[in-house]
Each structure stands twice: as structure tokens, then as C-alpha cells.
Symmetry: C2
Subunit: 134 residues, 2 copies
DNA sequence: ATAAAGGGGACAAAAATTATCCACATTAAA
DNA sequence: TTTAATGTGGATAATTTTTGTCCCCTTTAT
């Protein structure tokens, strides 16, 4: 019940990008050195962020990464979801899962509510808010 | 960011115990068959529940397991914590962890709040509530 | 005594996570 | 137009966590 290290990497990367001058790109190597993240692993992590439209990448000399939208339009939930997929506190909450104990499973509802509370909080704070508090 | 299968086993076990007649013990084997849980793995899981004072075990012939207290005094949070230890959505929230970015880490606060919301919900519903909803 | 329980430690298997390597495609600049 | 800097993608390895199994022990009612 914990975010993975990769998600931590993603959060730190997004903070780094949010702090960079508007429109400027940062290279993966630069970020990996600043944040002490294995470069090749970071590449894949950034790819996930790009697929989720949180960052834009630019290939070639002078290329790199930048935020795809203003920091106040990106939430912690966005980042976590980009890396880990949709949050589901219990397997039974995954969309794909077909619970064999349906419909009498009493724990599903508990997890459903807990998850909603969690998601609401993660959605509440934006990357911009986080940067402000630094 | 998901409870483990072992925690699922623990929840199902607690529900099974909550449904048993007051004061009666159920054997690990019985529970493992009813709930389709590997017996030796269940033994360890039950041991964790016993260490957390959620169940009482009785050795010897006719022995088994029963709830250590009324079902309305046991919460989902109690069960999760018994198996997985204290919830910490991010390593940086673990009591033992000493964050190298302290005290300027902006994500810690976000996780702190999210975790509190989650914990509050998990604490809200008791085993008794869950049984009622079956 | 005996058999039916739980207790505990070692270990194995499986799954998930993290990390590394390398060949390739793109692009700006020399 | 070559070159070097950069992201892309796939394969694979290493590590860690989770899950499962085995086996011998202790306790206890009959």
C-alpha cells in the first residue's frame, strides 16, 4: 500500500520541470543527475508521463522534456496514475476484476469509500501548489 | 498501492470468525478450506492477527481461532495494520525514514493529508458493520 | 498414549520492481 | 552533410517482495 520508487522518481521529475523556466526543456541526463535517478530507468518513466500527456518530449540535439501544460493543471493523482495506472486499493476494485463473491462482498464497499477519499485528496493539490510550498 | 493478497486472506478470515457463533473457535484447516487459502500460509497470517490482539488462538485438540473482542471494536484499519504494519503511502511517511530533502519536500504534505483521509475511512467501518451488510 | 490442533523456522517459487544494455531514429548545429 | 546530442524501444538481468511449501515442534483434550 505504497507508491513505488518509480512514482517517486516521476514526482521529483515533475517538480524539477515545474521549476524550470517556462518553455525550456531539460534533458533526461540532467534530471537524472540532479535527482540521482538511473538514467535509463528515468527515460522509461518520462515516457509514461508523456503517454499521459503530462510532459512533452523533444528529440535531437538540444532536445529534452517540458511540462505539457501549466503546473496548476497537473495533480498528484495525474502523476501517480500515469506511472501506476488507475488506483485500486484492492484487486476487487479493478475495472477488469470479476469478484466471485459478488454481490455479497462486504469489504468492497469499505475499500470503495476509502479509495474515493484518497483519490479526492490526491486530486486536490496541483503541482503548482507543491512548488509554492517549497 | 494495493493491499496484498495476504491482507485479503486476513479480511476474509476475520469475516468468517465474525460469523461464527459467539465464543466458538474455528480451526485453521476449516477456514483454509472454506476460504480457499493455503493452510500453512494462513497459519502465519492468523499469527499476525493474534500478535495484534485481534484474535485469540487455542492450541491442542479442539483448538482453533476466535475473535479477541467484539466485532464492533475491530476496524478494517486494524486488520490491514496487523498484516502490513502501519500504512505509509510513501516511504517518506514511515516513522523510521529520514528524508534527505527535509524540510523542503513538498510532496510529503500531500501524501500526509491523503493518508489521513484514507486512514479515517478505514477506521470508520467495523467488522460488525461489514457483517451486517452481507 | 494418541491424535488434533497451533507455533516456528527454513526454504522455494513466483511475481513485481528496479536497473542495465544496446541498437536505432530524430534533430540541431558545426 | 556529417556529427553529436538526444529521446525510443526492446531485451534481459538483478533485486526485492510476496506467496507458498515443508517439516518438526509444542500444547492439549480425549
Amino acid at each position: 500500500m505504497q507508491i513505488t520508487r518509480q512514482t517517486e522518481y516521476a514526482i521529483r521529475t515533475m517538480l524539477e520541470l515545474a521549476l524550470a523556466p517556462e518553455g525550456e526543456v531539460l534533458s533526461t541526463r540532467y534530471i537524472s543527475e540532479r535527482q540521482d535517478i538511473p538514467e535509463d530507468f528515468l527515460k522509461k518513466t518520462i515516457k509514461l508521463l508523456a503517454l499521459a500527456d503530462l510532459v512533452v518530449t523533444q528529440r535531437g540535439t538540444g532536445g529534452g522534456v517540458r511540462l505539457a501544460k501549466p503546473a496548476d493543471q497537473i495533480t498528484m493523482l495525474d502523476i501517480i496514475t500515469a506511472v501506476e495506472g488507475p488506483i485500486s486499493l484492492n484487486v476487487c476494485l479493478s475495472p477488469a476484476y470479476n469478484c466471485p463473491n459478488q454481490p455479497t462482498c462486504p469489504s468492497k464497499q469499505v475499500f470503495q469509500r476509502a479509495q474515493e477519499a484518497l483519490v479526492a485528496e490526491l486530486k486536490r493539490q496541483s503541482l503548482a501548489d507543491m512548488v509554492k510550498s517549497m
